[in-house]
Symmetry: none
Subunit: 274 residues, 2 copies
């Protein structure tokens, strides 16, 4: 059964021509606000012409544009009056989406529950104090997380390096690492031997290791100065790195805040270089 206009749209969006689909996507993207504006504004936002908007509305079954707007307003009114209806009832979902989202949200809450503010502040402080270099590395599936963090950190401070490619390539970088340096490692099951060996060698050189891992803890935890254990279980064939991703973003934000003064100048300098 189709109750809301949003559902109606996503039900029929597949059978729409390109222009009307753009209209639909624009409306859904910030629903329902765009639909409350004038046809001209709607069409401009979607990058199509006014008649396309009107055809789109007609395809949804409305006689004219005002009727469509009234329907949106009624829906909005119902929504605003009972905020409860916004927290979606579990029954309606049914599909494969909701369980995945719910599990992910739970994972994040759990991950942060086991993570004190102080711990995060300590790690952020360590990343922000620029005595030495910062290296980041990840495993097979978590390497993108290392890249993501490196991409941000490299903007607000110098000497940030993402270790990529062949194992032999990282190993050679060990020569540059010392006790003033920090190594951020992402490693979740199944833990990679190559990463463990690398971590061990770095540890022996006095490098401080910050480890992002799952709740079962990678063997690298043994060498790590700081360990962040994220929940990874979701109803999927794969483990989820989403909780670790959010921790990474939180740290990026915290480090940025600490380097505000120096960082802001650096960002301006970078902008002017582009």
């Amino acid at each position: 059964m189709i109750s809301s206009i949003a559902e109606l749209i996503s039900d029929r969006i597949g059978a729409m021509p390109a222009g009307e689909r753009r209209a639909a996507q624009t409306l859904i993207a910030n629903y329902p606000l765009t639909g409350l504006k004038t046809v001209a504004e709607f069409s401009a936002a979607a990058g199509v012409s006014s008649p396309t908007i009107l055809r789109f509305v007609a395809r949804l079954g409305f006689q004219n544009y005002p009727e469509f707007q009234s329907a949106l307003q009624d829906e909005l009114a119902a929504q605003l009056q009972s905020p409860a209806s916004r927290t979606l009832d579990p029954g309606s979902a049914g599909g494969a989406v909701s369980p995945m989202l719910e599990a992910t949200l739970d994972n994040m809450r759990e991950t942060f529950r086991h993570l004190s503010d102080k711990q995060l502040a300590d790690i952020a402080a360590r990343l922000a104090e620029r005595r030495g270099k910062t290296f980041l590395i990840g495993g097979r599936f978590t390497d993108p997380l290392a890249r993501y963090m490196a991409a941000h950190l490299a903007i607000i401070q110098p000497d940030v390096y993402h270790l990529a490619g062949q194992e032999s390539i990282w190993r050679d970088r060990l020569i540059d690492m010392g006790k003033r340096d920090v190594l951020v490692i992402f490693d979740i099951r199944r833990y990679q031997d190559s990463l463990v060996r690398f971590a061990e060698k770095a540890h022996h050189r006095g490098v401080q290791i910050i480890l992002f891992t799952d709740q079962w803890l990678s063997p690298i935890a043994r060498f790590a100065r700081h360990v962040i254990a994220g929940r990874t279980a979701v109803p999927s064939a794969w483990d989820s790195s989403a909780a670790l991703f959010v921790v990474a973003e939180t740290l990026i934000g915290a480090v940025t805040r600490q380097l505000e003064a120096a960082g802001a100048k650096r960002i301006r300098d970078l902008e002017s270089l582009r």
Copy 2:
């Protein structure tokens, strides 16, 4: 300090003549819906004449009725986009961590609220049906997401390619792309011209584009067959890609499920190769 229009009204309602006060009360009674309707409807609801409504609006400091409506819409937009502001208790948080987590969780809920099961299923089906090749590419900060998704998809099906490095390198890959192929693009603010140009060219070659973007929609949405608009606002200097990350994981899970039979065999084959 007066922030919302509702506060503004209740601040001045005492100094209003009878007719305008009725208008004010009617608006407050089911705020802000009545204000989004036409002057005629508003006046009918309040039991006064149209000019009274206009005088009421003028007294609030607006130049004309449309300006008043725009202000209401903006307010509504802010409210709908961050449900957090409606529930959040300032006391519990304190530290810098919790607001970030809360915002991220809200972003995810909001993102999925605008994303129907059917839409996700359609995209997953498109990714799972292996008529052609699958290409993934991302912007400056979102490229890791493309990598993450590519790393998973490449395991369960052949012909998955992540486009990395120089722009000139991707462009050369265009020659391999046709209408049977799918291009997954991640692009959030600030949108990259190079990516837009690339998307346009791919689109002209008939490639189906699946776009991950933010709620303001990258210009690439114009060329995209499917658009996923994730919420990115967090209390940080950076935008958050976490919501898009979770959508990506959800899709990976869905595609994996669809390819279960074929995929399981492929995974076993890969395992035996390691």
